[in-house]
Amino acid sequence: MKKSSARIRKWTAIVMAGCLLALALAGCAKEGGKSGADMAQKGGDPPDKKIFTMLIDSNPTFPYKKDWPIWKWIEEKTGVSLRVQLPSGKLADTLNLVIASNNLPDLMFMTDRRTANKYGQQGALANILDYTDDMPNFKKWMEKYPEMVRQALSADGKLFMFPNEGFGETNRMIWMYREDVFAKHGLKPPATFDELYEAAKQLKTLYPDSYPFSFRFGEELGIFVNLAENFETGGDIYYHFGSKEWEYGPIQDNYKKLVEAMHRMYKDGLIPPDWLSIQTKQWQDIVSTNKAFITVDYISRIDFFNIPLRKDDPSFNLAFMEPPAGWAGAKQFNPYLHTLETGLTVASTSSHITDVMKYMDFFYSEEARVIASWGKEGETFTTEGGTRKFKADFADAVDLRSKTGIATNGAYTWIDYDSQLALASEDLQKAYEQARKFDAKLQPKPAFNEQETEVLALTGEAVKKHRSENIAKFILGTRPLSDWDQYVKEAENLGLQKLLDIYKQAYARAAELQLK
């Protein structure tokens, strides 16, 4: 599960509800956009001037601009100028519309691999692997990052979405604690969950209206993806690297220990009583008003809280915390969540697929990596003694993106993350350094075929609902933990084995796929 936007997704997904009707209408709706084919022109000057159409999602924090210098730099190198279409409303709806109306832009941005694989298998997208002979840079890149390519393959071994590397770091999630508050009371950052309980308990006595351990991903138990790692289990179905088997975390004994620990904290008021429904805004409020001292969230939250709050309280210091072990001696890991599943796809209906592929090939060159991460030498950055430095015009990463278009949708695949770090505060840079020591292994994500997807949708949804509902009850205490064995049986009766078999089968199939 991608938690990066669990909350946002829930709120925005509402709009998707209208989708059914929109789809029914899709048959008659025709988008006015012209396909790139009509506009492609051949010029004599190298590199050839070409125009492609591209559908991308625009981020409200740094909305798409046509005159961003990044597009100019890309055009200088490739000769390609892009006619960008932005979704009218939600990207997912617009994708449905363009695909249903068979009027596809050459390049389409998609926010997850499953969508790309679905449309790819339905025939709407070109298989990138069929064109690698025209893509020397990408070929080399595939040898360098075989895992990144493997993760992106569809069930039948095709590649529909351009893989990326480097930018996933933004999705890194860590434990954080209020270093200043802990120091003030002579507390030690907890190394195990027992110590976490003790520390939280002490803080609760010192600050009676606080909820020392607060987090905002309670909804659908998203937070358990992080916490399960501390107890050497998984938040859902996961691959156990030791036994080389697919296993279901929420019925394991280790997971039960986690539930017990959370129940104890809930009972003593150490986590917010409404942890299941708490909203991002509420969570931000309690963190910034000395009502929460330990949290789990995206690493960038360090700057998000520290920079503005230090204006009033210079000692405010939210800092990296080592992930507490479930029990003394358990492994200390954060789950490997810092990957990015978004990317561009190429329409199978495009009349110049090869040209588009050649264009995308550019993004896998060292030269493009520098442009995509740093911009243009002299204009945005300078090189001093072998290290690149941004010019002083950019306050932070968001400022860089909104001024230049660097690292915005459709403008990168391969990123040198040092460029983003160069704009981060020292605290954040330090946190990155520490966080990297606690990475769990990247979970494999096998792609499923249509039949498997259907079983996963129905049985998987039943199992997931049963898990969320009951784990929530165990923690709230409305179902006694003595019912655990009964709960495990219920989950098994819902068809858990069927799901595990599908994962196993898909994983074995993915392992057999050979990269060309």
Binding site: A13, A124, P273, E454
Partner: protein, 323 residues
């Protein structure tokens, strides 16, 4: 015998004659009312283009819908998706939750605007009346997303206003959003808050049509305020109430999915998970449009049965009906 046949033939002739005459009548009537028809045309077109034409989309519930290939080219799968829905282990629970939430919403939500309208009708101070009306309309224009967000925040035990209020009344530590027993109350209450004011409009309009003579006559007979309310006001708006009730019965299952979706969480699934939210989780999130359409069509048919039943009962019992 022959007499009988003659009679029979004569009758047939009469019927034919009438039919010819009525055909002519129809044409003449059409001609007479052509401008009215012209005025009606945009409305008709709207319904044909946006309501009837898309209905053909339900065919995807019998097909394995492939977005790229289109409806035509997708393969037929028969009743597969309907079977999938009925065989789902949660089917009964989902139906029960949907029905109960809908019935509660109707039972408490339907009378609310009537009570409010009657109360407003009794207010003599016209400025105060208009002020209350305007204020009570407002929540109707707030989007569900915002309302749900407000509900969650107000009821939050970590600093919610309503929670403080409940505590003050002695309901210590009510963790309302986490308790399945509370979900329906919260949902129905927020629906009433949001829509009761707006829905009074139609009743207030109906109230103005009551002949003042009736009130004067009641006064003459010595009726007090409650007598007048009971014998004049309520019977006066009875047809409106019944027609709206029939329409609302048809909507019992059409619970606004988004609000439930925004208000529920795993702890309240037990009472809050309805068909709409289930469709969202398996249909839209997983991109299974055929399945979602199948469920939607099934629900549509049940709603249709509800409306027809309610209408029939009302026609038999009270002589008021939509058709």
């Amino acid at each position: 015998m022959s007499l009988l046949r003659d009679d029979h033939e004569r009758r047939i002739c009469e019927i034919r004659h009438i039919r010819v005459r009525s055909d002519k009548n129809l044409l003449r009537k059409l001609n007479q009312t052509k401008y009215l028809w012209l005025l009606f045309l945009p409305c008709l077109l709207y319904y044909v283009v946006f309501k009837y034409a898309p209905m053909f989309g339900i065919v995807i519930s019998f097909k394995d819908y492939n977005l790229f290939k289109g409806i035509q080219e997708s393969a037929w799968v028969g009743w597969k998706y309907y079977r999938m829905f009925f065989e789902n282990p949660d089917f009964m629970k989902l139906m029960r939750n949907t029905l109960l939430l809908g019935v509660y919403n109707l039972a408490f939500g339907f009378p609310a605007p009537i009570v409010l309208a009657v109360l407003l009708n009794e207010v003599k101070h016209s400025f105060f009346k208009r002020f209350v009306q305007t204020v009570s309309y407002l929540p109707h224009f707030i989007s569900n997303v915002v309302v749900a967000s407000m509900v969650v925040m107000f009821l939050s035990p970590t600093g919610g206003i309503l929670h403080e209020l409940l505590k003050w009344f002695g309901a210590a530590n009510a963790n309302v959003m986490m308790e399945p027993e509370w979900f329906r109350t919260v949902y129905v209450a927020s629906e009433i808050w949001q829509h009761a004011g707006w829905e009074t409009i139609i009743y207030l309009a109906a109230l103005t049509t009551i002949d003042p003579v009736l009130y004067e006559a009641a006064d003459m007979d010595g009726a007090g305020r409650f007598r007048k309310l009971w014998h004049v006001t309520l019977p006066g708006i009875r047809p409106t109430i019944i027609i709206l009730l029939i329409l609302n019965i048809g909507k019992v299952l059409e619970i606004g999915f988004e609000k439930v979706f925004l208000l529920y969480n795993p702890a309240t699934y037990e009472t809050a998970d309805i068909i709409g939210t289930y469709v969202y989780r398996v249909g839209l999130v997983q991109g299974n449009y055929s399945y979602a359409t199948a469920i939607d069509l099934f629900m549509g048919i049940i709603s249709l049965i509800f409306v027809i039943a309610a209408n029939t009962i009302s026609r038999r019992v009270g002589n008021t009906s939509i058709w």
